[in-house]
């Protein structure tokens, strides 16, 4: 089992990460999540301009063994989608924190970040 975490990212209980640059947030799934899912085979199309509330499903991810939702860590509008990952979902398995990012979101309210975990808290949360 692997559970690599990266500093300076925010984490959710449903295993997404969020990188914040000014008002923009990049969303992906954690190393733990990709390991739990196994080989990822499908990611549901995300519409640019879609407005989401914190915790709502951004997309659906499917692996050889399970289907689950990827929830947005913060409320906001989807401004960019990683088309490369849509084409080749195996990138998420290989680089969940780098090239495997899923979408970029215009953050509505930075107060919501308080509800998220930092790397140490997430590490502790997912310790078996």
């Amino acid at each position: 089992m692997t559970n690599k975490v990266i500093k300076n990212l925010y984490y959710t209980k449903s295993d997404e990460w969020l990188k914040v640059e000014d008002d923009m947030g990049t969303v992906g799934i954690t190393d733990y999540a990709q390991d739990q899912l196994g080989d990822i085979v499908y990611l549901e199309k995300i519409k640019k301009g879609k407005k989401l509330k914190q915790g709502e499903a951004l997309t659906t991810i499917e692996s050889v063994k399970a289907v689950s939702d990827v929830n947005t860590p913060v409320s906001g509008e989807v401004i960019e989608v990683n088309e490369k990952v849509m084409e080749d979902t195996s990138i998420i398995n290989k680089e969940p924190y780098g090239e495997g990012w899923i979408a970029k979101i215009n953050i509505d309210n930075k107060d919501e970040l308080k509800k998220l975990m930092n790397n140490q808290e997430y590490s502790e949360y997912r310790k078996e």
Binding site: M1, G38, V41, V64, K65, A66, E128
Partner: protein, 501 residues
């Protein structure tokens, strides 16, 4: 093993016709040019004995219920008694045509009519449709019936509640019927969280789709309250029959308050399942919903003593398939119910529940149960503690094949935090204690192997005709025809060297 196409030898054939009676003619002489395909057809040129040997060999590589234990959880892979097959293949049935005049097929109609009455008695429902061709088709039919019922009453309900433990087909069927799917979380006992249900069940909600025992194999003791909550808000309660095998003669869904009941005759009622199908996902309803059933149903005219097809009229959701049913499946079901009798049906469920609890009790020291409590006719354990040895549940399942057993259902159900790395074992009533003991012994052996020699598991299976398959390629680029395989092989030569067979 070579494919039949690879065994083809040019100009070899498997027939011989007397030349003085049959002359060879060219296709161009009988058909206009536009009707002849330009594309070369892949037909193998083989002799009769080549064909027989090829398919006999293939059948020997297969593993089915007639070979051994098949403990697929939530699937009820029980033995298919041969008397079912024998009676269903009588000429009077196999030569019957769905468009034959009613008076010439009275016997067939009588079976459908009688079976309807028997299923009504077993499940406490008022009427069944035999039309749906399989489980998910039945679910869709059930959803469409509920939809029409509310539309007719001018009630604009559009949400359907489904527990997180449900079969994936439940939300899919509800979505196909244009309902918005709302998930209901399980509580710490693995059953429906009543507070959550009460919060979600509102006047916009059609009702709840419930499997009981649920897909973890646990009986939902909250059913009385569930029924109250759903009906209090004017909703309907839908029963997914995947796990009826735990209930025959013990509890009837209709008595528990279900309004629509779905049964898989190919699970509970011993007709072939999976590749041996087809199935039959019949739907039973309470009185108020009868007008909405797919049309027609078989009725009995008591004055003229004759069975006939009754058109249900304009309220019916219409036809859901060509003709009336997968009829041979109904005959097999009828034969099974009559050969078992009421006590036999009760014994079947009782035995399956005892079997599952026996397996659970014997395995729980080695594989942590998802929920440590008595189960219904199937038990869910997990392979979590072997992760630290680098072994996943998938590897445990693959290793079982080396010991000549079909693996149980794995990774289903799958929800946090209880049901992860799940192994779901359903040992139906047709399995003996000796068979269960053999399975338990192998599972314990594998748990030791996982600790001492994990590689044996991660590289399994070793003794099967085909070693570990590539799930990723199978999901992303399924090879369904010989053409697909040739194309993929060709592509791989140039492109992706990482994918191998």
């Amino acid at each position: 093993m070579k494919l039949i196409f690879e065994k083809s030898i040019k100009d070899r054939d498997g027939y011989s016709l007397p030349g003085d009676l049959f002359k060879e003619i060219k296709i161009e002489d009988c058909l206009p040019e536009y009707a002849i395909s330009k594309k070369k057809k892949l037909l193998s040129e083989v002799s009769e004995v080549d064909v027989v040997r090829h398919f006999t060999k293939l059948s020997k590589l297969n593993y089915g219920l007639d070979d051994g234990f098949y403990p697929l959880g939530s699937c009820t892979m029980k033995y298919n008694p041969k008397i079912n097959e024998k009676l269903a293949s009588l000429n009077n049935f196999t030569y019957a045509h769905p468009l034959a005049p009613e008076e010439t097929v009275q016997g067939s109609l009588e079976i459908i009519y009688d079976l309807n009455k028997l299923l009504c008695e077993i499940t406490a429902m008022d009427e069944y449709t035999m039309a749906p061709a399989a489980g998910a088709h039945g679910e869709l039919t059930g959803n469409l019936i509920m939809r029409k019922y509310f539309v007719d009453r001018g009630d604009k309900r559009h949400k359907m509640l489904i527990p997180d433990s449900a079969h994936g087909t439940n939300p899919a069927s509800a979505a196909m019927a244009d309902f918005q799917v709302v998930e209901v979380k399980s509580n710490e006992r693995g059953t429906v969280d009543l507070t959550e249900l009460a919060r979600l069940m509102d006047k916009d909600t059609v009702g709840l789709m419930l499997t009981n025992p649920n897909t973890v194999g646990l009986y939902d003791e909250g059913i009385k309250n569930i029924e109250k909550i759903v009906h209090h808000k004017g909703g309907l309660l839908y029963y997914d029959g995947a796990n009826l095998n735990a209930s025959l003669g013990i509890i009837r869904p209709g008595d528990a308050g279900f309004d629509v009941v779905h049964l898989n005759l190919h699970k509970t009622f011993s007709t072939p399942h999976g590749g041996g199908g087809p199935g039959a996902g019949v739907i039973g309803v309470k009185k108020d919903l009868i007008p909405y059933l797919p049309t027609p149903i078989v009725a009995f005219d008591s004055t003229h003593k004759k069975y006939y097809l009754l058109d249900l009229g304009s309220k019916s959701i219409g036809m859901v398939r060509a003709f009336w049913s997968n009829f041979p499946v109904l005959i097999k079901t009828y034969v099974w119910i009559l050969s078992m009798g009421p006590d036999g049906l009760y014994n079947a469920s009782e035995t399956s529940i005892i079997n599952a609890n026996y397996v659970l009790a014997k395995l729980k020291k080695y594989y942590k149960p998802a929920y440590d409590r008595y189960c219904g006719h199937e038990c869910t354990v997990t392979g979590k503690e072997y992760k630290k040895y680098g072994v996943k549940t998938l590897d445990i399942a693959k290793r079982l094949m080396d010991y000549g057993m079909h693996p149980p259902t794995i990774y289903f159900p799958h929800f946090e935090p209880y049901a992860e790395e799940t192994i779901m074992v359903e040992p139906p009533e047709s399995e003996s204690k000796e068979m269960l003991d053999k399975f338990i012994e192998i599972m314990i052996k594998i748990s030791n192997e996982a600790k001492t020699n994990p590689e044996l598991l991660t590289t399994a299976p070793h003794n099967t005709p085909i070693r570990r398959t590539n799930d990723l390629v199978a999901a992303k680029r399924p090879i369904l025809t010989y053409d697909d395989e040739l194309k993929l092989k060709d592509e791989l030569k140039y492109k992706d060297k990482n994918i191998d067979f």
